[in-house]
């Protein structure tokens, strides 16, 4: 019987698949896609056993997670373990990673069919899953950081998968560099925590912090730096710019990395280190909340005008990530993890359904789509489920999770924050409604694409339909009865916080307000975009400056470009000048040049004529004698 102590197998399986595919990929039948799928599916099965083991342990009462590992680095008495910690928080995340991962791998066999680098795609995806699982299970910050960079690297590889396309190569670089900016802060934060505590182990750091080992200001600085890593990875303002561009990657990549797993790693990391945020100054959590609010509002409004189907879904992802961060800023880890859990399903669903549209029509601008519900009914239905989940309509899973967040926010934050979050719920209903209407209803705007449109093949449709079914029901885990029926100690809150569960309540006022705002939002979307979309066009003309502002993504990219062109590159030119002129020309070439010049001038003393040398020797001897005489006298 495999149990929680076998956690190390979880990342090992996909990593082994990666190595085999890398070395033997071209020689395997079907380029080895079955091996990658088998590895990630085996991880899911293994996870299921581990979960059963975990539930058994929970039944016995007291439980704090199982740690296992081997010594990694050892310097005298100080050592770092390659350690894995399996607890409830990791279980929630792993359920998403391994289950959604398996479905996306199956989906990829259809979406990537015929690609010249088909085998490499599965190899890179396997490496990603291995890194992601390591990130989730890591029991120390150093291993977490290594896996954190690992997923970032895989993201870079996969965004730039079609690197022949210049935009894809640029997007990959942008994603990598932007997240690196946050990662620098993350690493400094980790080192700050280690410097005082002398350990990287997360639990030992908690104990150290609870014993008052860190001063308040020091801890605040450290957690803010940790949060900087989350800002980059989870694409929060002001480092959100890479995520929409990351849609240049293949759609399965967007579904797995940029929706379900990697981008929520920041949320997961903050949730993991929440005890530190609790002990730090409230400023830290206020920063989390503020940045998340800006992210939510920016992304929701940008989603209103974007025309690329994947980009709209990407903006909705930004919106969701902001919601999770707001929940964390309100100390509501349960709500954040609950949203993370259901978000993994419905956002992967949205991306894969969008991928079916792209696959079927070869178009991804909604201005060239329309009326596709007739051609691809199952995809349309599945996308509708995902959109309604994202819009948080009762009883879809997004509703329960967003309601939990709204409740958490309303209890811990002031009315303004609550109102803004609720307003974003309205906005997300509008843009998800718009996206569905423009893609699947109305008259086709590109007849050629419409004629050729076809429903996706079974290997692409099945994962979508499975996720659609889960997106409908996953939210019911908010009820104790559902959780108990499935063998959990109760609702997700009771599962995650077994010892001291946070109650998930549904005050009717919030639920009603939420439902009303979603329904109104959907109605607004229907009014504005149904049919000829005349009201939307009129509004766009009427409020042209606002439309332009949103269309240009608040000019954030332009602002960064300006900063890079005018400040970074100008500074770079100064440094380059210093390097070229002072270091290279004067220092390196100057020394060599001086030696060369001296030698060049002095070589003419070598006339090759014996008398000259003889005269020089004689004169030298005379001068030496004269000097000696003068000194003696």
């Amino acid at each position: 019987m495999v149990g929680m102590e076998h956690a190390w197998l979880l990342p090992t399986l996909p990593f082994g698949a990666f190595v085999v595919l890398l070395l033997l990929g071209p020689y395997l039948p079907r380029r080895g896609d079955w091996l990658a799928i088998g590895a990630v599916a085996a991880s899911f099965v293994l996870f299921a056993f581990m979960l059963a083991d975990l539930l058994g342990a929970l039944d016995e009462g007291h439980f704090e997670g199982v740690s296992s590992g081997i010594d990694w680095l050892r310097f005298g008495t100080f050592h770092v373990t390659l350690g894995f910690l399996f607890d409830q928080l990791a279980a929630v995340m792993l359920a998403v990673v391994t289950f959604v991962g398996t479905l996306i791998f199956i989906y990829s066999t259809g979406y990537m069919k015929g690609d010249p680098r088909y085998g490499w795609f599965f190899a890179a995806m396997s490496l990603f899953v291995a890194s992601m699982v390591t990130l989730v299970l890591a029991d120390n910050l150093l291993l977490l950081y290594a896996a954190w960079e690992g997923v970032g690297f895989c993201s870079y590889l996969l965004i730039g998968f079609w690197h022949e396309r210049r935009s894809a190569a640029e997007a990959a670089k942008k994603a990598f560099i932007t997240t690196r900016i946050g990662d620098v802060g993350f690493l400094i934060g980790i080192v700050l925590l280690w410097r005082e505590a002398g350990t990287f182990n997360i639990r030992e750091i908690f104990e150290f912090a609870e014993a008052g080992g860190y001063s308040r200001e020091y801890l605040t600085l450290a957690v803010l730096l940790l949060f900087a890593g989350a800002v980059g990875k989870s694409a929060q303002f002001p480092l959100h710019v890479w995520l929409p561009d990351a849609m240049e990657g293949p759609t399965p990549v967007s579904a797995l990395i940029h929706a379900a797993t990697m981008v929520v790693a920041g949320v997961y990391m903050v949730a993991r280190t929440m005890p530190l945020f609790d002990l730090a100054d409230p400023i830290a959590l206020n920063v989390v909340t503020s940045l998340a609010l800006v992210t939510i509002l920016m992304s929701a409004t940008m989603g209103l005008v974007a025309t690329d189907i994947k980009r709209v879904v990407a903006y909705s992802t930004l919106n969701s990530l902001g919601l999770m961060m707001v929940a964390l800023g309100s100390r509501d880890v349960t709500a954040a993890m609950f949203y993370l859990f259901v978000h993994g399903f419905f956002k992967a669903l949205l991306f894969m359904a969008a991928g079916n549209v792209i696959h079927g029509t070869d178009r991804q601008e909604v201005t060239q789509l329309g009326g596709l519900a007739a051609k691809m009914p199952q995809t349309a239905a599945a996308f509708g489920v995902g959109a309604l989940s994202m819009a948080a309509l009762i009883p879809f899973s997004g509703f329960w999770a967003k309601d939990a967040i709204l409740h958490g926010v309303s209890t811990h934050q002031n009315a303004l924050v609550t109102a803004l979050v609720a307003f974003s719920a309205f906005l997300s209903a509008v843009y998800m409604g718009r996206l569905y209407i423009l893609t699947f209803t109305g008259r086709p705007r590109d007849h050629h694409a419409y004629e050729h449109a076809h429903e996706a093949p079974p290997n692409m449709l099945l994962p979508v339909l499975v996720l659609a079914a889960i997106s409908v029901v996953a939210g019911f885990w908010t009820f104790d009865a559902v959780g108990e029926a499935l063998g959990f100690p109760g609702s997700i809150g009771k599962f995650v916080f077994f010892e001291e569960p946070e109650e998930l309540k549904f005050p009717s006022a919030i639920a009603v307000a939420s439902i009303v705002s979603v329904v109104v939002g959907l109605a607004v979307a229907g009014w504005a975009w149904w049919g000829e979309a005349r009201p939307a066009r009129v509004l766009g003309e009427r409020f042209r400056p606002i439309y332009q502002l949103l269309w240009h993504k608040y000019y954030v990219d332009e602002a960064y470009q300006w900063v890079i062109d005018r400040i970074v590159l100008a500074l770079g030119r100064v440094i380059a000048w210093f390097d070229r002129v002072v270091v290279n020309d004067t220092g390196v070439d100057g020394t060599a040049g001086l030696a060369f010049f001296t030698g060049f001038e002095l070589k003419f003393l070598q006339t090759g004529r014996l008398p000259n040398y003889a005269l020089a020797i004689a004169a030298g001897a005379l001068i030496a004698a004269a000097v000696l005489l003068a000194v003696r006298v």
């Binding site: 070589k603 003419f604 070598q606 006339t607 090759g608 004529r609 014996l610 008398p611 003889a614 005269l615 004689a618």
Partner: protein, 102 residues
């Protein structure tokens, strides 16, 4: 006994003649002979100082023997070089031999 100054003056004159020969002559053979003059001037100095300062010892005399030996070897070598030079260039004029340079 002849005062040491006489020997030293003789040595100096010989040495100066040698220097003059090396500087003024253009024939390699004559330059070589001038060098020999300078060596013998040095030998005279050695012997004179040896006789005056430590007559019971042979250190200065040994130096003179060495100088003569080395001079003989050196002349053998140098004459061979000059011979080869003359075979190649049909001249022993050092002004015309200036290819050993930059």
């Amino acid at each position: 006994m002849i005062p040491i100054q006489h020997f030293l003056v003789l040595g100096a004159i010989l040495f100066a003649l040698g220097v003059y020969g090396v500087l003024a002559r253009r024939s390699a053979v004559l330059i070589l002979m001038s060098v020999e003059l300078m060596l013998q001037a040095v030998s005279i100095n050695f012997i004179a100082f040896a006789a005056y300062l430590a007559p019971q010892e042979f250190r200065g005399l040994i130096f003179a023997i060495f100088v003569i030996t080395i001079a003989a070897a050196e002349v053998g070598l140098a004459l061979a070089i000059i011979l080869r030079l003359f075979r190649n260039r049909a001249t022993a004029n050092v002004d015309e031999v200036d290819t050993l340079r930059w």
